[in-house]
Each structure stands twice: as C-alpha cells, then as structure tokens.
Subunit: 237 residues, 2 copies
Amino acid sequence: MSHDTMATLTRETISAAPDPIVRRTLHDELLERLRAMIIDGDLAPGDKVPEKELCERFGVSRTPLREALKVLANDGLVKLTPNRGAMIADLTLEDLEEAFPVMGALEALSGEMACANITDAEIATIKKLHLEMVAHYEARELKPYFRTNQKIHEMLLSAAGNQTLSALYRGLEGRIRQARYLANMSTSRWTQAVREHEQIIAALEARNGAELGAILKSHLANKFETVKEALQDREKS
Amino acid sequence: MSHDTMATLTRETISAAPDPIVRRTLHDELLERLRAMIIDGDLAPGDKVPEKELCERFGVSRTPLREALKVLANDGLVKLTPNRGAMIADLTLEDLEEAFPVMGALEALSGEMACANITDAEIATIKKLHLEMVAHYEARELKPYFRTNQKIHEMLLSAAGNQTLSALYRGLEGRIRQARYLANMSTSRWTQAVREHEQIIAALEARNGAELGAILKSHLANKFETVKEALQDREKS
DNA sequence: ATATTGAATTATGAATTCAATATACATGTC
DNA sequence: GACATGTATATTGAATTCATAATTCAATAT
C-alpha cells in the first residue's frame, strides 16, 4: 500500500458506512409540531398561544418553545406583540389578496419547471390521481376532492425539483390554510375547476411548460375568486 | 351631553391621538442588525458565528441572540448544526440555480403588478435613476452602477404594493447576496444589461405589465448566466 | 349602579445557570 | 515521529431564575 493512497482509503472506510445518529434540537422538533398544529387547525386563528400549557404538553421549558414561536412569527403563522405574547395569525382579506398573486407566480413556475423535469412515470401517477379526483367530483365528495387535488399540486411541485420554490410555496400555503375550509364551491365553479384540471393534464402530457404555467396561474386566480366570496360572506356574519 | 353619546365620545378622545410608544424586543432589533451584517458582508460566508463575541458587542445575553439566529437559519442565511453552533451560509452553485428561477418569477410578478399600480411620479423617479445608472455605466463605475440598479428594482417592487411579494423577494435576495460581488461583468454583457434596462423603462411607461414581466424575467436569467460563470471561475481557483 | 383607582396575580422578555457535547491539548504507545 | 487515547477547556442547548409589564379583581369614588 503506497503512502499517498492511505488518506483516501481511510476516508473511504469511514464514509463507506455513513450512518450518523440523527439528533434534532428541541427547537427544531417543536417548530415542526407547532406548524402542524396550526395548519391542522388544532390552534385556531386568533387564539392566544398558551405558552405554559404547551410547555407542559411537550415536556420542555419555555426557551425552545419561544425560539420556535419567533420563527413561526417570521413565517407569518403567528403574530407576536411585545409583552403580550403570541397569537395564531388571523387571515384577513388583505392577506389573501396579497398571497394569491404570489402563489400564482410560484405555481406557474412550478408547472413550467415540472414540464421540463417530470418523468413519464410521474405523469402516469398524476393522471391516476386526476381520475380519482374526478370520481370524487362526480360523487360530490368535497373533502376527498380537495385532498386529491392538493396531492396533484404537490406532485407538480416536487416534479419541478426546486427546493427553494417548494419551501416558499409551502410557506405561503400554510398562511392561507384557512381558505381551504372556506371554499364551499358552487356546482358551476366546481365543474369549471375540473375542466381546468383536464387542461392541466393535457398541457403536462404535451410537456408544454408555458401553457401549463398559464393554466395554473388562471386556475389559481379563479380559485381565489371563490375563496374571496366565501370569506366576504363569512365576514358579514 | 346626553348619556348615550358618552361612550362614543370617550372612544374618540382616546383614538384621536393614537401615538403608541414603539417598543421593540431585543430579538427583533438583533434580527435586523444581524441581517444587515450578513448582507453587507461584515459576517462572511463560512464564518463561524461567535455567539459570545456578538453578545458582548451588542450588550445582550445569549437568549435573544440565539432566537435571532434560529430565525436567520429558517431564512437560510445561517446554517445551524446541533452542538456546533451557527455558520454564515455559504452560497453554492446549486443554491443559485434554485434561487434564480424563483427570483425571476417574483420579479416578473413585481413588474406586472407595478405597471398596474405605479404613479406617474414614481415612473419619473425611476427614469431619473435610470439616467443616473447609465451615467455610471458610461463612467464604468461598477459599484455605483449596481447600487442604482438595485434601487430601480426596489422601486418596482414597492410600486407593486404587495408586502408578501416584497418579503419573499428580499428573503431570496439576502441569500444570493454574494452573487453581487462576483458579477464582474464583461463589457459586452454590461452593454446588454443597460439595453435591457432601456426596454424595462419603455414597458413601464407603456404600462405594459405582461411585457415588463417578460423582460424582467429574461433580464434576470441573463444576469444569472454572468454570475454563474463568475462563480464557476471562483470555484476552480 | 357604573366607572376608576390601586394592589395582587400572572405572563412575558431577558439574564443566568447547569448539563451535555465538542474541541483542543497533552500524554502514552507503537 | 505518527497515531491513539485520555483529560481539560470551551461552547452549546436548554432549564431556571429574575425583573418588568400586563391583566385581574377588589375597593373606592362618582
């Protein structure tokens, strides 16, 4: 064994079995859990965040919890008022009006990039999901419909293969999470939405990125209109 | 004074002078300062973040500083490794390749929305900045050129009038901050960039949102190519 | 009866402390 | 002399503590 290969060999020996023990910080773990709680609605918008209670629940001290809250505040999921603590952010019409165009731009990009990178297998999976979704539409099953719908958009996003894009998109989605439960669509809008999804599939199969981007953008804009109406109705009551 | 107007009057008296004392938390202040330090390059990529030193510098304890670091990590400006502390995030080619398309989408949206909302006065200001920038180009003053350039893009962004968009854009910009110092443009690229800026002004004056969006997108794509080359050169050395 | 004031309680922001982990250094072995 | 092992120091993550601000509630005045 010559001397100058030693170092290389040693490194290979070590890196041959790179199986590090994953250790997460409490802060990190809490961040994930709290995000999930907010997005799932366990912590409702407008709620005060009960620091003490959550600490007991998770069995941690206030320090890591508060660190997580600062991050969530930065992401817009909670509002922090000095000396008055944290509240789960409430969704205003203005928030929606700001978020949707940005979502549209990101979604369009996601479509464009997905067309460039997606595999045939992935397209097949999306088609299958699409058929599932249509079945839910025909059965008028709103919740399963939404769920499948979201899966399709998630797949497009991951097919785009851009972590930065995904992160921003998910961040925005978290903020407008409430909108989902609002959009009790009219039959005509629902039919239109399904038709738009047909177009999405077609553009995807043709791998026409520009087209897909445009469709997604207007699809989202239409969805926004639906949500906006629902939100305005709710605010009246 | 009738009794039923009392409450109203009282409320008016209070809300007539809403001049709350602005109190910021240390965490918030630190966040701002650290961001500036990173973006200005006072803390260089790859540097370990000296917790203790910074605490002394700012005269605060570790708690608020660490809170700020978590937020910065969430934004991708620093990397946090458990038990090993924080490092200023280093910019890889992959980061750039991910960030630029997203920046492009956001910038395009910014242009579109700016056209819809911008005032004549704002257009005039931008034109003035543009002339300044051209002057710097002709004098071959790179740094002032960049600075003015950035001001123009900032104005477009604020003219778009979408806080969500601004926040995401600035976040991304912070991450690719290093790219600025890399882009030592060739003369031909520089000339091209100025020409593109002429087009930007033209589209803006015509208030042609779609056009402006498209120009900004390709403008950024071209810039990316320049930066990419510079980065590859640097990585070789 | 209602509104206002002041004291007690609670919650928050930030500093400090403590335990666990990593790094640096020294010593011993081949 | 190179490497490994053990020890000391420093740094980090998280709990605890402390001071201050906000909230609650009873007492008082209107």
